[in-house]
């Protein structure tokens, strides 16, 4: 097993953990953290691909590296926005949950039950 495969597998594991956390955790803050874990896994996979597809004379394929930088910026912005929403929700209601039995949450249920 070479380094690129190892990193690729680590990335895959992180993606799995993150996905599990994002789906199963009920709390928004934990979901945001899980999203970041998932994101790190994807970035690692990009790194592994860059290393694996390295052209002759280059340390790595620069295109995936450029993509990763963009994706990190996007993930950062997404996290900031999610945290801002969680904080604002906490200010308004005193608790930050997504369950609709919270204060004011019942009217948005829309007869979905």
């Amino acid at each position: 097993m070479n380094a690129a495969t190892l990193f690729g597998l680590c990335g895959a594991a992180l993606v799995g953990f993150g996905l599990y956390g994002l789906v199963t955790n009920p709390e928004p803050l934990r979901k945001v953290l899980a999203f970041n874990l998932l994101g790190s896994g994807v970035f690692l996979v990009f790194g592994a691909i860059s290393k694996r597809a390295a052209a002759a004379g280059l340390g790595g394929d620069p295109v995936p590296q450029a993509m990763v930088i963009t994706a990190i910026v996007v993930a950062f912005a997404a996290t900031a926005m999610a945290i801002a929403l969680v904080l604002r929700l906490l200010e308004e209601t005193g608790r930050a949950t997504l369950s609709s039995d919270g204060p004011g949450g019942t009217s948005t249920d829309g007869g979905n039950s």
Binding site: I49, L85, G110
Partner: protein
């Protein structure tokens, strides 16, 4: 394949227009941030006619030539550089979105006026900036030629759409916005995983290059599945629709119109790009049937729940869940069992026409619902009596939108459903025809439920809470008429949706 690396792409005559379509909105957003809240509506007023003009010129170019417009950014040809391409699908969607955005802009003048207000408030500023940003992101989605550019555009779209949900800052809309954001983030990260896998396998993300190199292998299938599921979450296809009704029903009317009409079409368009353009031969028969089954489930579930709603805006939001289902029926209907590929024939035209007629009709209906809410102070369906006398133009716009959703002739919705039904008959897939006909019945059911109450004359004249400006009603009616007439585009001598698609067909026959 000797031509696998050489691309016949070069910047075409009208290519600069494609850059303008993206740069104009982005510049306006930056200008708005620099000049502050007072100027933002004025900037939008200048931008909207320009953007509409650019969209129409691109559409006319594509229609006349039947070829796609291309712009190679910085003269770096793919796979190293990035190409912007406008084919028939992008041109038609661009015009539709431009019309909807302009109508929403006219409509929102009353609610989000930044010039007359004594104190500068945040909500109008955010609304205008996000409206322009959504427009820019949508144009980027329609024109982007490689999957990573499309990822960035998709994220821009999400970041612009989420604040619109919670403009009023109430707890329940904040909750809806947060839920929407989490669904959208899950969707985009799944899309990104797929992008990484595709790049790792084929060394390019350019859609044209990819369509020539791609072949069936586990990595391709995994990537395609991940990307599709991610995009389904963003499009709110059943069963990933949970975020949509509270988000769309809780937002202010102008914002709901944009969210329901425009934003969901962005991720839908990417699904079409992915399967029809990037990998036309990868979706097997089973995959096509599965996507169709999800669409059918969305139609049935969304319609039944819509029938049980007591509030008008929630009813319209659930109707969006159902109408999104129709969009995905085109996948099994476009699937050709002989060549095992997706064919760009009648079903594709029908599906895209459905997207266009739904965009215009749904925007009109959300605007009408917003006006009814403003006039009555509530939107309980049971207490709508007399509203048709008080606001005839608004209720007429609502009804015309419903005509297009049901699919009555001569609306765009009629032609769309007719083309899909025809494809279902030709390919011998009668079960999709059943679903479509049942969906039409359900849609008539909930439209009748609303209209029968709205048309009941009131015992005493209604006391309206506010005077609804005429131009707001006219904006809703214009969109409803646009939806009614959108079928004419496809009746023209040239099927504009097929413009610039010969390569996909050629690859298909190989």
């Amino acid at each position: 394949m000797p031509d696998a690396t050489v691309l016949p792409d070069a910047t075409t005559a009208g290519g600069v227009l494609l850059v303008l379509a993206i740069v104009l909105p982005v510049t306006s957003v930056l200008l708005s941030l620099a000049l502050g809240g007072r100027q933002v509506e004025r900037i939008a007023c200048v931008l909207m006619p320009c953007g509409l003009g650019v969209a129409f010129i691109i559409f006319a170019d594509v229609w006349r030539s039947g070829e796609r417009l291309t712009y190679i950014v910085g003269d770096w040809t793919p796979p190293l550089g990035i190409a912007l391409r406008a084919d028939g699908l992008s041109a038609a969607m661009m015009v539709t979105i431009a019309i909807v955005v302009c109508a929403v802009g006219a409509f929102a003048h009353a609610d989000f006026n930044t010039r007359a207000a004594a104190v500068e408030t945040r909500a109008p500023f955010v609304f205008w900036v996000m409206l322009i940003a959504i427009w820019g992101a949508m144009n980027m989605i329609f024109l982007g030629g490689d999957l990573f550019t499309l990822y960035v555009a998709l994220e821009l779209l999400t970041f612009a759409a989420v604040p619109l949900v919670c403009l009023d800052g109430r707890a329940e809309t904040l909750q809806a916005a947060l839920r929407y954001l989490l669904f959208a983030l899950l969707g985009s990260i799944l899309y990104l995983v797929g992008t990484a896998l595709l790049y790792g396998s084929y060394g390019t993300l350019d859609i044209v290059l990819l369509s020539r190199r791609i072949h069936l292998e586990p990595a391709t299938l995994a990537a395609a599945t991940l990307m599709t599921v991610g995009l389904f979450a963003k499009t709110a296809l059943f069963p990933l629709h949970l975020w949509l009704p509270p988000a769309h029903a809780g937002a202010p009317a102008a914002a709901s119109a944009v969210l329901s009409a425009v934003v969901v079409k962005g991720s839908f368009f990417l699904v079409v790009r992915l399967w029809f353009d990037a990998m036309p031969g990868t979706l097997g028969s089973a995959g096509a049937q599965l996507i169709g089954a999800l669409g059918a489930a969305a139609i049935v579930f969304g319609s039944v729940v819509a029938l049980r709603q007591q509030r008008l805006k929630l009813l319209i939001a659930y109707s969006t869940v159902a109408q999104i289902g129709y969009l995905f029926l085109m996948f099994p209907l476009a699937f050709d069992t002989v060549s095992a590929q997706l064919q760009s024939a009648g079903a594709l035209t029908g599906g895209m026409l459905q997207a266009i007629s739904h965009a215009t009709a749904k925007a009109a209906m959300f605007m009408a619902a917003g006006l009814i809410y403003a006039a009555l102070g509530h939107d309980r369906i049971a207490e709508l009596g007399g509203i048709a006398q008080a606001l005839p133009m608004t209720v007429f716009a609502f009804a015309l939108g419903g005509v297009s959703l049901i699919g009555l002739p001569p609306s765009g919705g009629f032609l769309a459903k007719w083309l899909l039904l025809e494809a279902a008959v030709v390919t011998g897939q009668w079960w999709w025809a059943m679903v479509m006909l049942a969906g039409g019945l359900f849609t008539s059911g909930y439209m009748f439920m609303v209209l029968s109450r709205a048309l009941v004359p009131a015992h005493e004249p209604l006391k309206l809470k506010t005077i609804v400006p005429r131009y707001q009603q006219a904006a809703a009616l214009t969109l409803a008429l646009a939806s009614l007439l959108s079928g004419l585009v496809a009746l023209g001598p040239v099927d504009v949706f097929q413009a610039g698609r010969p390569e996909a067909m050629m690859v298909g026959s190989r």
